[in-house]
C-alpha cells in the first residue's frame, strides 16, 4: 500500500511531477536523517574494529585511515569465538524454528476459537516476559540443573523459546485477527481440513507477520545475555559471552570488542536480507473480498 502519496492541498499549483518530487524528497530527507542516526554509530563500531587500537579512541577522529583486518584475524583464530559463534547460530536458528512451530499455531487458535478466559490466558502468556531476567534466573538455574539441561544446547534452545514464545503468540494473534475469516471458510468448503486451511491459506497470508516475528525472535535470542551466562558453561556457550570477553578487568580491547560486535551483527543482517522480501508481502485482501 502506498499511504502517503497524494495531494495535500486541493488547489496545489504544483504539477504532480514536481510535487511528487518534493514529497519524495522530503520523505527521503527524513529517512536519510534517521539512516544517519542509525548508521553512524554502526559505522563507528565498524571503523573501530578496522583501526589500530590507539586510533579507535582518539579525537579528532581519523576519518581516513588504513583499515586493518588484524582484529578480525585475531577473532577468527580464537577457536572459542568461532565455536560459540556457530553454536549460537545453530541454537538460535533452531529455537526460532521451534518457537514459530509452537507459537504460531497457538496464536491461530487464540485468534479463531473461543477460549474460555481468553484475556487471562493472554495476560498469563505475557506474564512470562514481565519479570526481569535477574528475578527468575536463579529458579531457572535450579530447574536446569535438576533436569540436566544445564550447559546443553537443548536447554539453551528451550530457554530461547521461553523468551520468545509470548512475543510470537501475541504478535501473530494480532496478525491472524487481521486476516478475513472468509478465506478460511472458502478453503474449508473447498475440502481443506482446518489444518490445511491454516497451512495453505492463512499462513501464506500472514507471511509479513511471521517473518517479522522471526527476525525479532532471532535477535532477541541472539543478543540474550543473562540466561546464556548462567545456564551455560562450555558446551552450549553463546556468542554474546564471547563478545564480552574483551571487556577485561583492567583493559578493554576496543578493537576486538568492536570486531566481535560487528561479527555478531552479520548473521542478523544476512537473516534480514534473506527474508526481506517477505516483510512487505502486502496482501490487499480488500481487492478480493468485498468488505
Amino acid at each position: 500500500m502506498a499511504a502517503v502519496d497524494d495531494a495535500q492541498q486541493p488547489d496545489s499549483r504544483l504539477s504532480k511531477t514536481n510535487r511528487e518530487r518534493l514529497v519524495s524528497a522530503g520523505r527521503h530527507a527524513a529517512l536519510l536523517v534517521w539512516s544517519f542516526v542509525v548508521l553512524f554509530p554502526l559505522y563507528w563500531i565498524v571503523s573501530m574494529s578496522l583501526k589500530p587500537p590507539t586510533a579507535a579512541i582518539s579525537l579528532p577522529p581519523d576519518w581516513i585511515f588504513l583499515p586493518t583486518v588484524y582484529n578480525y584475524i585475531q577473532l577468527l583464530q580464537q577457536s572459542s569465538f568461532v565455536y560459540a559463534f556457530f553454536n549460537s547460530v545453530f541454537m538460535v536458528s533452531a529455537s526460532v524454528i521451534l518457537v514459530l512451530l509452537i507459537g504460531v499455531p497457538a496464536a491461530y487458535v487464540l485468534s479463531r476459537y473461543d477460549i474460555p478466559k481468553q484475556r487471562d490466558v493472554l495476560v498469563w502468556i505475557l506474564s512470562s516476559r514481565m519479570l526481569p531476567p535477574v528475578a527468575v534466573i536463579i529458579p531457572f538455574f535450579v530447574i536446569f540443573r535438576a533436569l540436566n539441561l544445564y550447559d546443553t544446547r537443548i536447554g539453551m534452545i528451550f530457554m530461547y523459546i521461553t523468551i520468545n514464545i509470548s512475543l510470537v503468540v501475541w504478535v501473530m494473534k494480532a496478525f491472524f485477527d487481521g486476516i478475513p475469516e472468509t478465506l478460511e471458510e472458502a478453503a474449508r468448503v473447498d475440502g481443506a481440513t482446518r489444518f490445511q486451511a491454516f497451512r495453505k491459506v492463512i499462513l501464506p497470508a500472514a507471511k509479513p507477520g511471521i517473518f517479522s516475528v522471526a527476525i525479532i525472535s532471532f535477535i532477541f535470542a541472539w543478543i540474550e545475555l543473562l540466561f546464556s551466562l548462567v545456564l551455560t558453561n562450555n558446551n552450549a556457550v553463546t556468542v554474546t559471552m564471547q563478545v564480552y570477553q574483551f571487556i577485561g578487568v583492567r583493559q578493554i580491547e576496543w578493537g576486538m570488542l568492536a570486531a566481535a560486535t560487528t561479527a555478531t551483527i552479520i548473521p542478523v543482517v544476512i537473516f534480514v536480507i534473506a527474508v526481506n522480501r517477505y516483510l512487505a508481502a502486502g496482501l490487499s485482501f480488500g481487492v478480493v473480498i468485498k468488505e
Binding site: 589500530p52 587500537p53 590507539t54 579512541i57 582518539s58 579525537l59 585475531q74 583464530q77 580464537q78 577457536s79 572459542s80 565455536y83 560459540a84 535477574v134 534466573i137 536463579i138 538455574f141 535450579v142 540443573r145 544445564y150 545475555l225 543473562l226 551466562l229 548462567v230 558453561n233 562450555n234 558446551n235 556457550v237 559471552m241 564471547q242 564480552y244 570477553q245 574483551f246 571487556i247 577485561g248 578487568v249 583492567r250 583493559q251 578493554i252 580491547e253 576496543w254 576486538m256
Partner: protein, 462 residues
Amino acid sequence: TRGGDSSSGDGSGDGTSGDSGGDSGSDSGGESSDGGSDELAIPLSEYQSADIDWRQFEGSEINIGAVQHAWVDAIKPAVPVFEELTGIDVVWNVLPEQEFRTKRLTDVSTGAGEWDVFFLDQVVNQFRESGWLQALDPYFEDDSMYDEEWYDLDDLFEATRWQAHGGGYSDTWTGIPITVEVQTQFYRTDLYDEYDLEVAETLEEFQSNAQTIHENESDVVGTVGRGQQGYGMNIYILNTFIRQYGAELWDSYPDNSGLDSEGAISAAEWYVNLLQDYGPEGASSQVWSDVLSTMQSGNAGHIVSDANLFWPGLTDPESSDVADRIAVAKAPAPADGQFSPNAFAWQIATSQNADNSEEAFLFMLWASSEPTNTWMHVENGAGFSVRQSTWENEEYRSRVGDNFADVTLESLQAAAPDPFDSQYPEWGQTYSEELQTAIGGDQTAEEAMTRAASAAEDIVGE
C-alpha cells in the same frame, strides 16, 4: 570434541596484547590433549621437588570460574604444565566482571558447585559468612598437599595474605591470593617537561600540577579519576585518601563507620574538588575504562591514583597515543598524612559444594607457587605478582622497568587493603552513590559523607 587450542597462546609479549591472544574463555581443557606433544612452558622438575603428591587426583577435572583478568591470559599457556603434572584437566570459564559476579553468586548460592575454583574479591566475607566458602586450612595442614618450605608463604605480601583471610575478618584461609594491584599515580612526562613540573608527593603538589596542565592545555584535563558509583569504583580510589588523611573506616565495627570523620570528609572534599576543578566533564560517571582511555588518548595530564595494572596499557604503543610520554609514581598523600595506597588482591577460592575441592587446592597452590608466578611475570607479561620475590627479580624488573617495579614494590609494602566486611557491598554501594552525587555537584562532599556514614551504620547495624 572441538579442538580448543588457540594458536597464539602466548600473546605477543607484553601485558596488553596478551589479552587478545589466548583467551579461550570457556575452552574445555583443550590444552590437555595437545599439551603432551608441545614443549612445556615450565619444566616439571620445578614442582616435583616439592613434597606434594601431585598425582593423587589423576584423571579428574576442575572447573575454574574466572574474570577476564590479565592473570588468566598470563597463566593459561602454563596450564598444560599443571595438567601434565597432576593429570587433572582444567576447564576454564572466563567472564567479564559483572557477569562473573552474577554467575558466581548463582552457582555458589544454589549449592550447584559447578566451579571448583573461582575468583573472589570484595565479597569474600559475604560468601564466608553465608557458609559457602571452604576454609583452606585443612589442606594446608595436609602433608600430601602442601609443602611449606617449597611454597614459601612469607614471600606473599602481607596485605594479600591478610585479604586471603577474609580481609582480616577471618582466622582461616578464605582463598589464595593470585594477583595484587596497588594504586599509583600516572603522569605525562612531556607536559611535566613543558611546564617544568615536579612529581607530586603531596596532595597539594598534585593539585597544583593538575591545575597547571588543566589551565594551560586546551584539550587536556588536569587529571582523571573514577567517579562512577559501585563498590569497586569511586570509593576504591577515595579510600586511599581517607586512610592517608588518617581516618579509619569502621574503627569500631559495627557502630562507627568512620565515613563522617574529619579525615574522611577532608579526603572526600579534596577528591571531589579535584575532579570538579581539574577533572574531565562528566567525571562523575567515569569508570576505570574511561579513566584509562582518556589517559591513553592523551587527553589527561594525570591519573591521580589508580591501579598500577594500567601501566602496560598506558605504555603499549599499540593502545596508547602517549606510550612513551607516561611515567608512574607513588600516589600522592596529604602533607601531614601517611603514605598508604589501596591495594587490592584477587584470591581464588573453593566452595563448600564444589566436587573437587582437593584438586582445586592443588591448582591454587600450583598457580601461586613461585615457579609459576615467576614464569608468568618473567616470560608471559604479567605484572601483578603477589610474591615479593618477583618484584626483586632482575629479569622481571628489566622488563617492566625499575621505576615501575620500585614504585609498585614500595607502594605495596606500604599498602593497606580495604576492609571488606560481609555487608561491604551494600554499604559500599550507598557510600559510592553518595560520593558520585557529590562529584556530580549535587551535594557537598560533607553532606555525601555524612549521609554515607549514617546509611552504612544503618545497614551494618541491622
